[in-house]
């Protein structure tokens, strides 16, 4: 059927370790990229860009960052929201101190700030594990949000304590700020997300990724085979926080346009963690699936009654929405505790074997 692998022979190690050992996967990815780059931009309304496409991409990126740390390297973190905040505030300060700086450079640099903070709060991971580490990262969460509120320099002494994104051009096109068109912002986010996803896929399937997985599965054994635990764990914190920081900068600059410290409080961390868990820990695809479920589905559900002309109060829709999403999360986790990515992998296996049961 769709996934006839017969006739695809691997004649070298290189072919066997290719990114897409099965040709259909590559075709499928190509189709999705065509959708993302060509078809969506031409069909989507501004609302679809701002409420569905851009947030899904940004949340996927944040979950990807967390997944590197929690899914691949096995270090549980509850500080994602705060690390996103570090990226956002760093980008804001860079742009306001150096207004001439290219926005791509500013976003890329802001990732290093959150990476540095991430490594700092990752230090306890050398001594503690699991839930205890989660508490240490929770401390980062509380401390950083408090800092965002109290350190007025961070928000340029703005009276309301919020940061506002100015208009920023990239090669003559406004990509950030109130004048930016949704399509320009979408393409910007899409390119950044694609580039980082490509980087993440390759790093997780290479030497470093294997070191992370070894540490995740059993750190004593990993140490015995000669993996330097300190370097590996801190590298995971570094790479993860870098990606999360970039997601945070995009979150504010390419989507929200303004932010106050409370935005980066613990609900955001939990939201990203849910995306990673429901999507599937230790998977790249899962982040995207999880973000679609957690971020996009509520928006779609809330527009259903309006689309069919059913007169329901918006408050009622909101209550129903929370119930439906909650039920779906539980249902998915019962059906497949390893997340949506694993769910898809099972479907794919079935496709490959189809029409035979085994």
């Amino acid at each position: 059927m769709f996934y006839r692998t017969a006739g695809q022979f691997k004649t070298s190690y290189e072919a066997d370790h290719a990114l897409f050992p099965v040709r259909q996967d590559a075709i499928l990815l190509g189709v999705i990229l065509i959708f993302a780059f060509v078809i969506f931009p031409f069909t989507a309304s501004e609302f679809a860009f701002r409420a569905l496409l851009i947030p899904v991409l940004i949340y996927s990126l944040a979950a990807l960052g967390l997944n590197i740390l929690t899914g691949y390297a096995g270090q549980l973190s509850l500080g994602t929201g705060a690390f996103m905040g570090v990226g956002a505030y760093a980008c804001y300060k860079l742009v306001s101190i150096f207004p001439e700086m290219n926005i791509v450079v500013a976003i890329a640099l802001s990732g290093f700030f959150s990476a540095a903070i991430g490594v700092l709060f990752g230090l306890p991971s050398l001594r503690i594990k699991g839930f205890y580490l989660a508490i240490a990262t929770l401390a980062a969460q509380f401390f950083l949000v408090w800092l965002f509120q109290k350190w007025a320099w961070l928000y340029n002494y703005n009276a309301s304590g919020a940061i506002q994104v100015p208009n920023i051009d990239l090669f003559g096109i406004t990509v950030a700020g109130p004048r930016a068109t949704a399509m320009a912002q979408y393409y910007f986010v899409l390119c950044v997300v694609c580039a980082i996803t490509f980087f993440a896929i390759n790093i997780t399937r290479g030497r470093i990724g294997r070191m992370w997985k070894a540490v995740r599965d059993m750190d004593i054994a990993a140490e015995l085979v000669g993996i330097n635990l300190m370097r590996t764990k801190l590298m995971a914190f570094f790479v993860s926080s870098y990606v999360v920081g970039i997601a945070g900068a995009l979150f504010v600059f390419l989507w929200r346009g303004a932010a106050e410290a409370n935005l980066f409080d613990i609900p955001l961390s939990f939201r990203v963690l849910f995306i990673a868990i429901i999507g599937g820990l230790g998977s790249i695809l899962g982040n995207f699936l999880g973000a679609i479920l957690i971020v996009a589905l509520p928006v779609i559900i809330s527009s259903v009654p309006g689309a069919f002309g059913i007169p329901v109060d918006s408050a009622m829709v909101e209550h129903l929405n929370i119930m439906i999403i909650g039920a779906l999360i539980i249902a998915f986790l019962i059906i497949e505790p390893h997340g949506l990515a694993r769910f898809w992998a099972m479907i794919r296996e079935k496709f490959i074997l189809w029409p035979f049961p085994h």
């Binding site: 897409f20 996967d25 590559a26 499928l28 990815l29 189709v31 999705i32 959708f35 969506f40 069909t43 989507a44 309304s45 609302f47 679809a48 701002r50 409420a51 509120q149 340029n156 009276a159 309301s160 304590g161 919020a162 506002q164 100015p166 208009n167 700020g177 109130p178 004048r179 490509f198 929200r256 346009g257 303004a258 106050e260 409370n262 935005l263 409080d265 613990i266 790249i284 695809l285 995207f288 699936l289 679609i292 996009a296 928006v299 779609i300 527009s303 259903v304 309006g306 689309a307 069919f308 002309g309 109060d313 918006s314 408050a315 829709v317 909101e318 209550h319 990515a341 898809w344 992998a345």
Partner: protein
């Protein structure tokens, strides 16, 4: 990133869903008034009566008069739960047809404010939002009548000092506020005034997560022994603060709140013990007014209202304030209809209308809302109107008017407003200002 068929299926399904949602809303001869309401979440208790009031006034016009000058008003709510993210989503969803944006949170206002110049839809934020929005030349599309937060802060200080701010010298004023853009709004003005008049300002923030449990803040208040506590609270924070004040036996007559901290429900929790608590307000409930009789007859008794009658919501400050908010909006729409001779004014025309509201005492009387709202008028340079307000005082069972009409000390506020407005425009350059306005 392989195996993404599912992503594709889901996203294309989602795209189709949105595609359908757009055109299905038919355009007809009515004025579409969206409201970014919150009847869910931690602020639902205070939000719901306000939304009910706004909704009921529009229902009244549709039922009693067949709309406004014969045009039906299409009131619609989009639920935000006071969440900025949801608010922006709602803004994007409604903006295609909306004549006005009613953001209903200072956070959401700050988010949509920069977009107002691009999307060209006026923002109406009665009694909330960014205080420098009063400068209509800079903030062409934003309105916060009839009084801004800075006006409110000035009036409170004026009232507690019996009209002479210098009498506050060496006194200590605790400023208990929600740690959110809303709560921080008056701080710049209070700091300037503290400096000038020599009183000591102690800002005490209450985080969103600690609204219900303010023991730490009230411990600080007990330690500092301030002469007055001024509160900028909202939602669950008000009830928390008032119960804590009763518990710590803070004298209620030295405790003053902004208009959003004057919710009947919060004071009913403490009843008699809350006696003496004051809240500044630009609206006063008057259930005897002719307008209220009409609301009762055409909306409440006709079963078209969502208010909770057994709880006395009809008489509450917030419900009647919600009505007044719709009165302000409808006055703006009416002005636009008459000026441009159109049935359904465009957002640009409504912008003119909101700039030319004239709700003087005669007009309020005509509407049957005599004494329920401060009289005010707006202009192209004055988007707030600065109508002032009254002190409401809790008498143990309800809020009663406890002062004459207070007015803000504009001479102290205006320079700061102009300065902050200019700063905002500079930070958001290119920011178009209204050059035509010569006032």
């Amino acid at each position: 990133m392989k195996r993404m068929l599912k992503t594709a299926i889901l996203s294309s399904a989602l795209m189709m869903g949105v595609g359908i949602a757009g055109p299905a809303m038919a355009q007809d001869d009515s004025i579409y008034i969206p409201n970014l309401a919150y009847r869910t979440g931690p602020f639902a208790a205070t939000g719901t009566p306000l939304m009910n009031g706004q909704r009921d006034y529009i229902t009244l016009l549709n039922e009693r008069d067949g709309g406004l000058n014969g045009v039906k008003l299409d009131y619609d709510e989009c639920e935000t739960g006071y969440n900025t993210e949801k608010g922006v989503e709602c803004y994007e969803k409604t903006k295609a047809r909306a004549v006005v944006t009613q953001p209903w949170s200072t956070g959401i206002t700050l988010q949509v404010l920069p977009k107002s110049n691009v999307d060209k839809i006026p923002i109406l934020a009665p009694g909330y939002g960014f205080s420098p929005m009063a400068d209509g030349k800079v903030f062409q599309w934003a309105y916060n009548p009839p009084s801004s937060y800075w006006d409110g802060a000035s009036m409170i200080l004026k009232n507690i000092s019996d009209g002479n701010l210098d009498s506050l010298k060496d006194k200590k004023i605790a400023f208990l506020h929600l740690d959110h853009p809303f709560g921080k709004e008056p701080i710049p003005l209070l700091e300037v005034l503290a400096e000038k008049h020599g009183f000591e300002l102690v800002p005490i923030p209450v985080g969103l997560t600690e609204m219900q449990n303010q023991s730490a803040q009230w411990l600080q208040i007990r330690r500092e022994r301030p002469d007055f506590v001024v509160m900028w609270g909202w939602g669950a924070m008000n009830a928390g603060a008032i119960t804590e004040a009763v518990k710590t036996k803070y004298p209620m007559d030295q405790f003053v709140g902004v208009w959003w901290s004057g919710h009947d429900g919060d004071l009913k929790l403490v009843g008699e013990q809350g006696k003496g608590y004051r809240s500044i307000s630009w609206s006063v409930p008057n259930s005897e007014a002719p307008l209220m009789a009409d609301i009762k007859k055409y909306v409440v008794d006709a079963g078209k209202s969502q208010i909770n009658q057994s709880e006395g919501e009809f008489d509450s400050v917030f419900y009647q304030r919600g009505l007044m908010i719709s009165v302000i909006l409808v006055e703006g729409i009416k002005a636009a209809q008459e000026e441009f001779d159109v049935r359904t004014p465009s957002p640009e025309q409504l912008r003119w209308g909101l700039e030319n509201i004239n709700l003087d005492e005669a007009r309020l009387k005509e509407l049957g809302a005599d004494g329920m709202l401060v009289p005010f008028s707006t202009s192209c340079s004055n988007h707030t109107g600065h109508g002032g307000g009254w002190m409401l005082q809790w008498d143990g069972a309800k809020f009663v008017k406890a002062s004459d009409l207070l007015t803000p000390d504009r001479a102290e506020i205006e320079p700061l407003e102009l300065e902050k407005a200019k700063e905002y425009a500079e930070a958001n350059a290119p920011w178009p200002v209204n050059e035509e306005c010569k006032m």
